[in-house]
Symmetry: C2
Subunit: 329 residues, 2 copies
DNA sequence: CTCCCGGTTTAAAGCGCTTTAGACGCGCGC
DNA sequence: GCGCGCGTCTAAAGCGCTTTAAACCGGGAG
């Protein structure tokens, strides 16, 4: 197997300079129609493909957005996919790098910057605020789906308090009075959702009960078991997120507690799971797609436009009513 | 914000040549202890970080493995994570690139090769065999978790037929006689599992029934609904994979059909979902970790060793008995 | 005192592409 | 016939690093 063809080879084949080949292949105006044709033909004949590392190095700009991804979390990966799509449309490429036990978010960001990413998008990061700020000083950073004050970095998120508030309104509107919130535990997103829950109930003159939970199925399942043993069980449960809600649903179903007849369940995120026909979970949309687009836009504004002041984009979440909520019996 | 420091800046700061700095920072033997110390100090002072694109370009080898990932599939992302871990241990880095509607597997592979990945690992690819072979001619390729004859590329997989066979043996051993298989539809993995199911039943002198399914929850759910309307329902169901099994489980639970009391359910993959305490799905382990390690090893053998003949590694899957299987009533 | 040697260090040539300044030809008006 | 401007092309200088061949240097051997 011989070495892959270089620009020089194409130039020789076409009988022009490497400069011309470069211009033609990148579709830069200048070269004549005849030159274009000859270059294209030569490139085709040789099966030429530009070496990305070389062109990144030579280019002034890389037009690369870095995105660390926690592969084991469906919500984050879903958003990563949306980011990728949005970036491609904006003429940017995305460099993904997995967060693993061996290399945490901070290291991954370093690696991405070493690859010359021009900006970094952090999807629901768990990093301490100080670290975010430090990072923001090194490169354009957009924090997505996390409630922090912009501080040298941009923030795109949905108003979680309002989101959970909508859930509460919906349930109260259906006639529920005993509503429990299974919270997100220590996860970064937990506090707002908990606060939103309590505030909304207060608004309705009710008081709420919060059960310690967590961002994954197991936490929801554990909470459900607690509720099953309850002398006066709630008629509705609002989970910290969809995964937590799934845990609840599952344990309820197994125990013969019907949803939504016996108890209503609401999730948060509106991930793929919630949308599955047989789950059909009432939940709050985080608008992953919209957040992704806004985040990319924010990064692009900093890079192509030349915004320099941090912005905070707060989207309004909306409740997606599906089949897991109904009036109490 | 001034331009990031270059090797040259560190060299000036330390009072040595760029060559020395490069050697010291990559921990190449040669430079004296004194030089090392000065360089390290200077680099620290400037906060120097090597530019990855530049070093990749200059280096003979990139030690980069390319992995296209379908972010919306948990099994594949889980494996991608394992690959990342295995690669890091072997001194290789992983370039991840998302498969999206806008850029399919083939395009992503091209992009990865343009980044100078030295090999490509395909996780349960859906590409036609001819495309795999064509790809294998361009670069070292390891196909993981798919049954194809190695043809210019390596293959690492588990023996799916045997895996499903084990499931059947387990169920028959428990006393089941009416066993149904909900297959994977047209997905690449479906055929072997279906064949393994039928062969195993025949071995036991039983005949099997196969219901059309698919690789996702919805397919399992649909199949479950079919089974619920069955005059003589099976006592056990073997799903094409875990996601499909989850669909089944969910519909059964909602219909008041208890698992495993009324019907046993077996999955395939042993992904994170199956291991969740409240799901506790009996399933067949695909050994994602082991497949990932073997795949990385295969790539490394081609790159560092100089194996050139394709290999096929077929691991033996093993049944993980959990809580969704029990003797029939 | 010279020569040679091994351990260190460095100048310089790439890696494969982009980009810019300037060369080149050509038709035009004067 | 000359100079000019324009559209097109190219030589050459990078991009920031690695790598190699050669320079350097002090000291032990002859």
């Amino acid at each position: 197997m011989q070495r892959r063809p270089r620009l020089e080879d194409v130039a020789a084949e076409a009988g022009v300079s490497t400069a011309s080949v470069s211009l033609v292949l990148r579709d830069v105006p200048g070269p004549s129609a005849q030159t274009r044709e000859r270059v294209l033909a030569a490139a085709g004949r040789l099966g030429y493909r530009a070496d990305r590392t070389a062109s990144l190095l030579a280019r002034r700009r890389t037009r690369l957005l870095g995105v660390p991804v926690l592969l084991r979390d469906a919500f984050r990966t879903e958003m990563a996919e949306e980011v990728q799509v949005a970036a491609e449309m904006g003429g940017y490429a995305v460099a993904l790098s997995a967060i693993t036990p061996a290399s945490d978010e901070a290291r991954v960001v370093d690696a991405l910057l070493d690859m010359r990413c021009e900006a970094v998008l952090l999807l629901a990061p768990e990093l301490p605020e100080a670290d975010l700020a430090a990072l923001g000083a090194r490169a354009p950073v957009v924090v997505v789906a996390r409630h922090v004050a912009p501080d040298g970095f941009d923030v795109v998120r949905v108003a979680d308090e309002a989101g959970v508030g909508e859930s509460v309104d919906h349930l109260v509107g259906l006639g529920h009075r005993r509503i429990v919130h299974v919270d997100g535990g220590g996860a970064a997103m937990a506090a707002d959702r908990r606060a939103g829950f309590l505030a909304a109930l207060r608004r309705h003159g009710l008081d709420g009960r919060v059960l310690p939970g967590g961002p994954v199925e197991a936490a929801g399942a554990a909470a459900a078991r607690t509720l099953l043993g309850d002398p006066e069980p709630p008629t509705a449960v609002i989970a910290a997120n969809d995964r937590c809600a799934l845990g609840l649903l599952d344990v309820f179903l197994r125990a013969g507690v019907r949803v939504p007849e016996d108890v209503s369940v609401v999730g948060y995120d509106d991930g793929e799971l919630a949308r599955l026909a047989h789950i059909d979970l009432t939940t709050v949309s985080q608008e992953a797609g919209e957040q992704a687009r806004r985040a990319v836009a924010a990064a692009v504004e900093r890079l192509d436009g030349n915004r320099t002041d941090p912005v905070e984009v707060v989207l309004t979440p909306h409740l997606v009513v599906r089949g897991t909520t109904a009036p109490p019996r």
